[in-house]
Amino acid sequence: MNKNDFYKELFEKYALDEEKIRRNALKAAKTPAWKRAVSTHWKTAVGAAAAVAVTVGAVTYIAGQNPVIDIVSSETMLTASQRLRDAEQNYMNSSSEDESAVSIYISFSENVCYSDMSVALSAVPDSDDINVEVLYMSDGTRITGKTDIEAYAEKSAADKSIAGAKLTAPARCYRDIQDLSSVNLAEKASDILNDETFVPIPDDDPLRGDSDIAVTPAAKETPAVTTSFSFVTEKPVSEPGIIITAVQSETAETTEDPELEDPDGVNDPDDAETTLPAETEEPDIVVEETDEPEETDVPETEEPEITEAPETTADEITVAVTEISDTPDIGLMTQIYQLNVENSLETVLVGNHAVVLTRNSVYCYTLGGIMNSQPKVCEVSNPKIALADKDNVIISGCGQDGLRNVIVVLDTATGIVYSSDVKPSLGDSEIGTIYCASAEGRYFLKAVSSSSTYIYEITPNSETGVQFRPLFDYTGAVSLAGYKNNRLWFTAADENMKYSLFSFDCRLGSLRTDYVFGSECRVRRSPSFESFIISVNDAEEDRTDTFVYDVSSESLIPVQIGADANIAVKWGRIMIGADNENYVLSADGSLAVTGEKIDYSGKPHTDYVIYSSDSEKVVVSEKFGWD
């Protein structure tokens, strides 16, 4: 062996261990977000405990209506975050050879039945050594002792109402128990964590409810949440790159804070704006008290939005992320983050990312796991969120000519950003609205000039940028309505203001007139950009006729609903939200009330909520736990 070979082998062996990296990458990718988050918090706490004085804030959730959760005095209660950190430490320190028997409290990710629990535990090596001591039920009761547990198992083996359990097991089993997919958290018993104080932590936060789902008023009748919120009051110290803020922590109270009455931001008008960017395009359409309804179009109101690029100053932006720790004196709580962005225009949460727009830049913060230190992803003048879905945030911006002809796509899964100057494709027209036919993963962009509307199919591609494919243009305004199987529906008026529903075959490039309405019509789309509602306003007769267009059957179904009803497609069925009820639509136009919760918003899923958003700060909270 010569020295060249020696150093090659030495570095292959000790630098970038290929197998180890592969293993760890897979493990990290498959680790639930909260575990990654807790790992980061824990490492941060150990490694840099005194590095930064953190802003302290707290969001407390006291679920008076939720029997899973007991209220215990704060002196004896560990915070959720502390419990997670303790579990992390136990996990890291546990030995595979420790034979001593320990008590382990487990919280299931979601309620399980006794059979499920038994099957899950049987996957642990040496499961014969594991004994179930206590069952914690979802109604807040406990079943203690072998006899009672056996009786319960015999009687209610299939009843999915077990939220947690206390086990005794050899300490060496601890990791295996924690690694079970049905187990959200495994915690070793301690002086503080005991039978009286243990409360299961499910994977889904009651605060979340159905965050993506519009809550019907009927569902809201249960006053499930009472929150208290303490907040930043001053900024005493600052360091380059970090804004350190101090806070006056308030005592937990069960009074309602108006800011947090709607913790999911379902009815937050600011939030709604960010997820319904198209509203700016049709400014005179009023959307009333719906849970983020789809936009409504009146074609004749569409005009290209002339936006002047704002003046910029060199020091306009300071950005900082402060990870806000929990306060020890307020029951259970969560981690919240404060993003300080001066002059922010819009913020949208997608998955575990907070995308913040300022006048000249786009920032993307990764929340929960590894906080990114360089959140600025690109510079673009006067950015606007054109579409935010589960995969991409598409942002339009202004080019050097002041026209909105720059497009930025942020792939939130990978963090890849690619921007394109699409002026060569758009000419003098400007980017208007972007729609996503989510079922087929296809994107359509409407560009408008002073006289015409241009429709493109766009394909965000992380390797080649955004690809444009022109579909058609129309002299006049167009409202895209829906898409399915290569057919794109839209309404438009001719020169005599006679409205029609057209469909364009994207494969063949042919146009078809499906219905002629004559009178002015408005369109409300489903979030998945499939079926849609058309309201035809007959001014002479002073009446409005409403139809649902079912793209599957390509039929227009007359329905007796208001023009502001919402529409969504769920499990292949058309769902209508109107008059504070949700309905399933039949082919004959009849409506049957359903108790299902329906998402009419198309809001991308996220595990976080924005509590406050203004030009100075955005506070984002993780929704794991029930804090």
């Binding site: 897979l26 995969d391 899964a413 950003v417």
Partner: protein
């Protein structure tokens, strides 16, 4: 999509791209040790992406993963200043360099024994990796990635002379320190 199929695809891409990705990361980022974390993050992101969206749309996995690598490198090391070029030592002459190169090609049986001595081998590795991060990167790129020294110089924004001096100086130092 089945987890097995996903893992199989991931493992294939990993095997096919690891060398290129690690070369990219080592050449862009601070040190060999840092690079390990970054490479792991890259493949974690990649797995999460294909788990979430599938991989049918990925034409070139290597280009795709390198794109993620660009993001990761910018994300974590954007704020780090470029490594300064330290020239604390007198430069070798061309003749001296040729001599060292020739010596490196000579067979040395004892080197195999050193590699078998895990403690010593690790010590030698860490002696390089912990000294000047740039030196560790030069070693990795040259010996593991088989990059030529002038290519490394371009990649690291150094002069060829500087790269050679760092490399040979370290080898000479190790020769005395570890008797190899």
């Amino acid at each position: 999509m089945g987890s097995d199929a996903l893992d199989a695809y991931f493992n294939k891409v990993y095997g096919d791209t690891f060398r290129a990705v690690s070369r990219f990361v080592v050449s862009k980022c601070g040190s060999v040790q840092d690079s390990e974390d970054i490479v792991q993050n890259i493949y974690t992101r990649f797995y999460q992406r294909i788990a979430k969206k599938g991989y049918d749309d990925i034409e070139s996995a290597e280009a795709f993963v390198i794109n993620i690598a660009k993001f990761e490198c910018r994300n974590y090391f954007g704020s780090i200043k470029k490594n300064s070029v330290s020239t604390n030592f007198a430069d070798y002459t061309e003749e001296q360099m040729v001599e060292i190169e020739a010596e490196m090609s000579k067979e040395q049986k004892s080197l195999e024994d050193v590699l078998c001595n895990e403690l010593l081998a690790k010590q030698i590795f860490e002696d390089i990796a912990r000294d000047d991060p740039v030196i560790g990167r030069i070693f990795y790129l040259h010996f593991v990635c088989d990059m030529k020294l002038d290519d490394i110089a371009k990649e690291l924004d150094l002069t060829l002379s500087s790269v050679k001096n760092k490399l040979y100086r370290t080898i000479e130092r190790q020769k005395k320190k570890f008797d190899i």
